[in-house]
């Protein structure tokens, strides 16, 4: 019982933090930075507890007498929680300058963000489909509001409306799918679908498959995969920088937490029926995302569209899981971490520049000669772009390497070839920025490196990316990139069947 209370502490802390900030936001005298620091403090304590839990937990149902088997705590959920919490902490700290430069942020912003993180953490812990649906909705409904937080910009409000309408329409498919699955299986627990499929191999399972595909529709929509990707660019451009960062990195990881759980266990008996669909979706995501990314003139739009392409790589690995690759699932987790670091840094630099100077540094042309104006920032941006493009010596290269390896392992050479081709195409839009930064004269004089939490963290993230790429062999005692892969596969082993 005491151990259970200890396991639930991180979630409870995030929720208490949300309540605290909600009440605290009534006090008008408090500065915005203090709200930010309080939020970060709650998240950090939660993160530390999660790190300790990760060492000690195997596979546990929390409060089994009260919650039955709905609340699962295993290494996978803890690993994902660590990612959400560190993502949120980095997002908040990197955007510290940006919060101060805009007048529309207040205490409720942080409360809503914490509610959203609570939903994501619950999503990683859930072992039951209705709880999963409610957690997805909790994470998204608060995000809808955050997307429209900038009330000066009509674009932000438009993005919010678009996201609300499309997002709730997509969410409905999940609950419809759950209803159909419940009709056949008679239970909404994750493992029960697997055991039903194993024990009823001769009976007609078409309704079950239809229901599961409806659930996939929602999950694919939320990560922005191909037929459902049209909202991504508009919503990402319209929302404020911190929210874009949060959606591009943390929300995507959250959806993958439930997607992996469903796909690895419950979808396993029906792989032959659905793999073709996953393959088509992955290829379409790669191609359409690349087309969108090439066409963008704004840097934020380019990063948004390229996030669709990165989802395509992960769907490729999802296909590889079904064909029988042994380490595709850990490759997905590794890729999530590598993409999360690179995108966080790239959006962080944009948000820092947007907070520094009004209405600048949004399109490609604004970056002409940027390296002569701010050499350190340009170097960090170069590292992020190299990592996103998958250039060797960055963590992004290793992420792509593992994904392609897992696809090649299953014998799907053509699919892996397409992935490599798309990676070459992505060099065009990532390296365009590097070329613009270095090969043009700067219209402005050189500026000093501004020492602040935001900038130091951006440099730190850039160093982490390089360390993840080349540092593995240099430091034998610390877990490097390969260590991350081991941790991921260790966590995946704890999913009970």
């Amino acid at each position: 019982m005491i151990w259970d209370l200890y396991l639930v502490m991180p979630l409870a802390l995030v929720f208490i933090g949300a309540l605290f900030l909600m009440l605290f936001s009534l006090v008008k005298q408090v500065e915005l930075t203090n709200y930010n620091l309080v939020t970060v403090a709650f998240l950090s304590v939660s993160l530390i507890i999660e790190l300790i839990i990760f060492q000690n937990v195997e596979h546990d149902y929390l409060f089994e007498t009260i919650f039955a088997k709905m609340f699962i705590v295993d290494k996978l959920s803890t690993l994902f929680n660590i990612l959400f919490l560190s993502g949120a902490i980095l997002t908040l700290l990197i955007n510290n300058n940006y919060f101060k430069s805009r007048d529309y942020y207040n205490g409720e912003f942080f409360a809503l963000l914490l509610f959203s993180i609570f939903g994501m953490m619950m999503l990683a812990h859930t072992n039951e489909l209705i709880t999963a649906f409610i957690s997805i909705e909790l994470a998204s409904i608060t995000l809808y509001v955050l997307v429209g937080y900038n009330h000066h910009s009509p674009k932000s409000s438009e993005a919010m409306l678009k996201y609300i309408i499309l997002g709730s329409l997509a969410g409905v498919f999940f609950i419809l799918g759950v209803a159909l699955v419940y009709g056949v299986v008679g239970s909404t627990y994750l493992g029960d679908i697997y055991s039903y499929l194993i024990h009823h191999q001769n009976s007609d399972i078409s309704l079950l498959v239809v229901g599961m595909m409806f659930m996939m529709v929602t999950l694919l929509f939320k990560i922005g995969a191909a037929p459902f990707h049209s909202w991504v660019v508009d919503v990402y451009i319209g929302s404020p920088f911190p929210v874009t960062m949060f959606m591009a990195t943390t929300l995507k990881i959250a959806i993958f937490s439930i997607l992996l759980r469903l796909f690895l266990v419950d979808f396993a008996p029906i792989y032959p029926l659905i793999l073709e669909i996953i393959k088509v979706v992955a290829i379409a995501t790669l191609l359409l995302g690349s087309l969108l990314a090439i066409a963008q003139t704004q840097l934020k739009g380019m990063l948004a569209a390229s996030s669709i392409v990165h989802v395509g790589y992960m769907l490729m690995a999802l296909y590889a899981i079904g064909v029988g690759s042994s380490f595709a699932a850990s490759a997905i987790i590794f890729y999530l971490i590598s993409y999360f670091l690179s995108a966080l840094g790239a959006f962080g630099i944009l948000s820092f520049l947007a907070s520094d100077e009004e209405k600048r540094h949004l399109s490609f042309d604004d970056f002409k000669g940027f390296a002569h104006e701010r050499p350190y920032m340009a170097a960090a941006m170069t590292i992020f772009m190299l990592s996103l493009a998958g250039f060797p010596s960055t963590i992004g290269f290793l992420g792509k390497f593992y994904i392609f390896m897992s696809v090649v392992e299953t014998g799907e050479i053509l699919l892996a070839g397409l992935g490599i081709l798309i990676a070459f195409i992505s060099i065009y839009y990532y390296f365009k920025l590097i070329a613009l930064m270095y090969f043009y004269p700067s219209p402005n004089p050189k500026k000093r490196f501004p020492f602040a939490i935001s900038t130091l963290l951006i440099v730190g993230v850039a160093l982490m990316i390089v360390w993840g790429g080349i540092g593995t062999g240099l430091i034998p005692f610390v877990a490097g990139a390969d260590g991350l892969l081991t941790i991921a596969s260790e966590a995946l082993k704890t999913i009970g069947k």
């Binding site: 919650f67 509610f115 409610i134 957690s135 909790l138 409904i141 608060t142 009709g183 056949v184 078409s206």
Partner: protein
């Protein structure tokens, strides 16, 4: 007898749904919505689920529909202020062609599915059994729903307050 009531309710449900989509005045759409909600409550009553019937009438009809009608009346929605919708025959035909296979697949799957339900117990659907089920077996989702409502409430307050802020 039951099937006659079912078909009457289904008729109202579908005609209300068609009314929502096709009527040009928003108020008529809202009244179509009201029809759908009441017919839905009737469906629950037909299934002996008295709790859901009550909840549907109280929440669906009493709160959701009334609120939407109040909003339509208070902001004086007129047809000329609305964005143009081109509901042409071609669009309807095209959408039907897209939706028809999915609907056919669902129909086929439901017709062939081996449903795994026990025959209903004696106190099925009463408030007492619903309360017991919600607070024992489903207590975790039930509690998270309350957190969801709290988050949604904070969000709604933030959104509505900023509008006042803009006007002042």
């Amino acid at each position: 007898m039951e099937s006659i009531i079912f078909f009457i309710l289904a008729f109202f449900l579908l005609s209300g749904a068609i009314m929502i989509v096709f009527s040009k005045e928003s108020l008529y759409s809202a009244i179509g919505f009201l029809m759908v909600m009441i017919a839905m409550a009737g469906m629950f009553a037909l299934l002996h689920h008295s709790f859901l019937f009550l909840a549907q009438i109280l929440v669906g009809v009493g709160a959701v529909v009334v609120l939407s009608i109040m909003i339509i009346l208070s902001i004086n929605l007129k047809e000329e202020n609305q964005p143009k919708q081109n509901i042409t025959r071609k669009n309807i035909l095209f959408t039907t062609l897209i939706i028809a296979p999915i609907a056919g697949l669902l129909l086929y799957a439901i017709a062939k599915a081996p449903f795994a339900f026990a025959p209903i117990a004696q106190h099925f659907g009463t408030i007492e059994t619903m309360g017991k089920v919600l607070f024992t077996h489903w207590v975790l989702p039930f509690e998270i729903v309350s957190i969801l409502l709290l988050g949604a409430m904070v969000g709604a307050i933030v959104l509505s307050r900023r509008r006042l802020h803009v006007e002042s």
